[in-house]
């Protein structure tokens, strides 16, 4: 029984300039249902990306889901909303109840809990309300967001959008094979000089 490890997108930290084009692209391709087309003027909801550019004193990199093969998020979800589809770990947004267990389970913080939007508006909860300044007001449904490797199109938008080509989609077995080969060739060279 052969298992292919899940693919994921990783950044080359030497190349990232912190421009957030990846975040904008991620949001754009995931929001057709919110009437987002080609221009900024068509956006009516907050930008919610599924990867986050983290900036510190001496570094800036985007952090996103690693599509762990033993995904802690999938293993702890009480309503089984997180599953493996093809080589991707995917959250079913309809089933998500916003319990935040996956959020705490993820060691790299790839999951965020934020309001759900449809057709340009917040999706409102049926009964649950919250206290506001003027009494009880509507509460938006919140869901867990994370990278889904752009499963709709199959081509990660962030990789395409990066002006520095800092992001790559990693195919683990191809990567391993090419490194093994490079190491073998290097060994061959070294062995030659020992004659």
């Amino acid at each position: 029984m052969k298992t292919i490890p899940n693919t994921f997108v990783i950044v080359n930290s030497n190349k990232c300039i912190g421009c957030k084009a990846c975040e904008v692209a991620c949001f754009t391709v995931h929001n057709e249902n919110n009437n987002v087309v080609a221009t900024v003027g068509t956006v009516t909801t907050p930008i919610i990306p599924r990867l986050n550019v983290i900036k510190g004193e001496n570094f800036v990199v985007p952090i996103q889901c690693r599509h762990c093969d033993d995904a802690p998020c999938a293993n702890v979800c009480p309503v089984r909303a997180i599953k493996q589809e093809n080589n991707t770990i995917v959250i079913n947004e309809k089933d998500c109840i916003g319990c935040k267990t996956c959020l705490i389970a993820c060691p790299i913080g790839a999951i965020d809990l934020l309001p759900q939007y449809d057709n340009g508006e917040q999706v409102i909860q049926l009964n649950l309300k919250q206290e506001g300044e003027n009494g009880l007001e509507e509460k938006a449904k919140s869901i867990a967001y994370k990278c889904d490797l752009c499963k709709e199109s199959g081509k990660p938008a962030c990789v395409n959008a990066c002006p520095q080509k800092a992001l790559t989609l990693v195919n683990v077995s191809t990567e391993k094979k090419s490194r093994n080969k490079a190491a073998a060739l290097s060994l061959l060279q070294t062995s030659k000089s020992y004659r």
């Binding site: 300039i17 907050p46 550019v53 959008a161």
Partner: protein
């Protein structure tokens, strides 16, 4: 007092410096990874930085000034829902909204050629959708009293500039002559090459010619006190906001163009007033200052001003119509394109520059006396005004070439389908000269439609 039109929000800027790659004048300063600043002495307000900046303000970040406060500081309407980015231009929608509600003002508007091939993008329609009819309808819904068109003023510019070029060529005037409709190019020339300002055409830009006409001729035909006219222009360009504020642009006796809104701002205003743009029926522009030819509409793309000028110039010189009206060899993309056009006995050497950086070698040649072109069109933005700093901002960089190509194609398509395609054949232009201006380069024209430039060299 001057408020900078283009700014970088220090709270948002991550110092990625993508803006510096598109700035044609190296006006953006700062270390990598730290917030950048714009040197306003160098900045030509082209807005290319605004177009490329991808650092947005997140609604979920609580360590920065709240977004609605930022929107207010930037002059945006409260109703605007779109995200804001680090590099931005200040807005004037609130000013226009107030004016539209003021019954004591007579509100007139003119729209640039490049707006009608991009405005619809902000409402979800495909890139490069041609919607002049919906644009005119929307402006009427906004309660403008007259919906005029910069394309008409572009036809007017050709009459004046064509005549000026012929005069310089035949009477040994200063050559090469450069176009002067791009305000960022004009500012650049004033800053860096003031000694060559006499090469610029003395013609105002279509926006400013339109403004001067609106408050003189426009006031006359509607029997309105020009002091009550509020003249707005809708532009694909952020630098036009600078141009309308130039102190000398008051030849009508009043500020010729009161306020400039970008294409994006117009879309925001339309949405803010609850107008359903997508379902508006097509309407026409108001006559007198709203009827245009194809030559006027191609001003929005690189090579368009040149092609329009040649369509008229050819006939002015040879008294014969130009054999082929579509001058494909003039059209093209960013860079410097050159051509030799045979007009009767004259071999006119012309050049089209788009992308401001590309004009520098030509200017250096002019300084050395080595430039033998007669007429040079200069546009700061890469593909001309369709790629202007005030146009709808693209979310994905990969869409940029697609958008520019579509907007250009729509512009030439619009031109090809119009009945009249040469500026001098516009009956309202002929009428304007008959009734009001006299003749190109005449006394009235000189007073209202021509201007002087100022050295800004430090």
């Amino acid at each position: 007092m001057s408020i900078n039109i283009i700014n970088i929000d220090k709270e948002l800027c991550t110092g990625c410096r993508r803006c510096t790659e598109v700035c044609p004048v190296n006006a953006i300063e700062g270390e990598e990874g730290k917030p950048q600043t714009i040197n306003s002495d160098r900045c030509v307000i082209c807005g290319q930085c605004v177009q490329i900046c991808s650092v947005y303000a997140s609604n979920f970040q609580d360590d920065i000034t709240p977004i609605d406060v930022k929107k207010d500081e930037r002059g945006m309407l409260e109703s605007v829902k779109e995200p804001i980015f680090a590099a931005y231009n200040i807005g004037h929608t609130k000013l226009v909204k107030e004016a539209l509600a003021n019954p004591n003002l007579y509100k007139l508007v003119q729209c640039a050629p490049a707006v009608r091939v991009a405005l619809a993008e902000e409402f979800g329609l495909p890139l490069g959708s041609l919607t002049p009819g919906k644009m005119a309808a929307a402006l009427r819904c906004l309660k403008f009293d007259r919906v005029y068109d910069t394309n008409f003023a572009a036809d007017l510019t050709i009459m004046e500039e064509g005549s000026e070029l012929i005069k310089r060529v035949t009477e040994g005037g200063t050559l090469p002559m450069f176009t002067s409709c791009c305000p960022a190019w004009v500012k650049f020339a004033e800053q860096e090459y003031p000694e060559l300002l006499n090469h610029l055409s003395s013609c105002k830009s279509p926006q400013q010619m339109g403004g001067a006409m609106i408050k003189t001729y426009g006031a006359k035909i509607d029997d309105i006190d020009p002091a009550k006219i509020f003249s707005v222009s809708i532009m694909p360009c952020t630098c036009k906001k600078f141009e309308c504020d130039r102190p000398e642009m008051t030849d009508s006796g009043y500020k010729d163009v009161d306020v400039v809104l970008t294409t994006r701002e117009l879309a925001q205003l339309i949405k803010g007033m609850g107008i359903d743009f997508k379902n508006l029926p097509d309407e026409k522009f108001d006559l007198a200052l709203g009827n245009y030819t194809g030559a006027g509409t191609i001003f929005g793309v690189t090579g368009g001003v040149m092609e329009a000028a040649l369509r008229t110039g050819y006939e002015l010189i040879t008294k014969e119509p130009i054999p082929n009206i579509d001058l494909e060899f003039i059209r093209g993309n960013e860079g410097v394109r050159t051509a030799v056009v045979k007009i009767g006995n004259l071999e006119l050497k012309v050049a089209m520059v788009s992308g401001l950086k590309n004009v520098v070698p030509l200017l250096e040649d002019v300084k050395k006396g080595k430039c033998d072109f007669h007429f040079i069109e200069v546009m700061t933005c890469p593909e001309g005004c369709v790629s202007g700093g005030g146009q709808p901002k693209l979310l994905l960089e990969e869409c940029r070439p697609i958008a520019y190509k579509a907007r250009k194609a729509a512009t030439y398509d619009h031109d090809s389908k119009l009945e009249l395609r040469k500026s001098h054949e516009n009956p309202d232009i002929i009428k304007l000269y008959d009734e009001f201006l006299g003749e190109p380069l005449g006394h009235q024209s000189h007073h209202l439609l021509h201007t002087k430039y100022v050295s800004r060299k430090k």
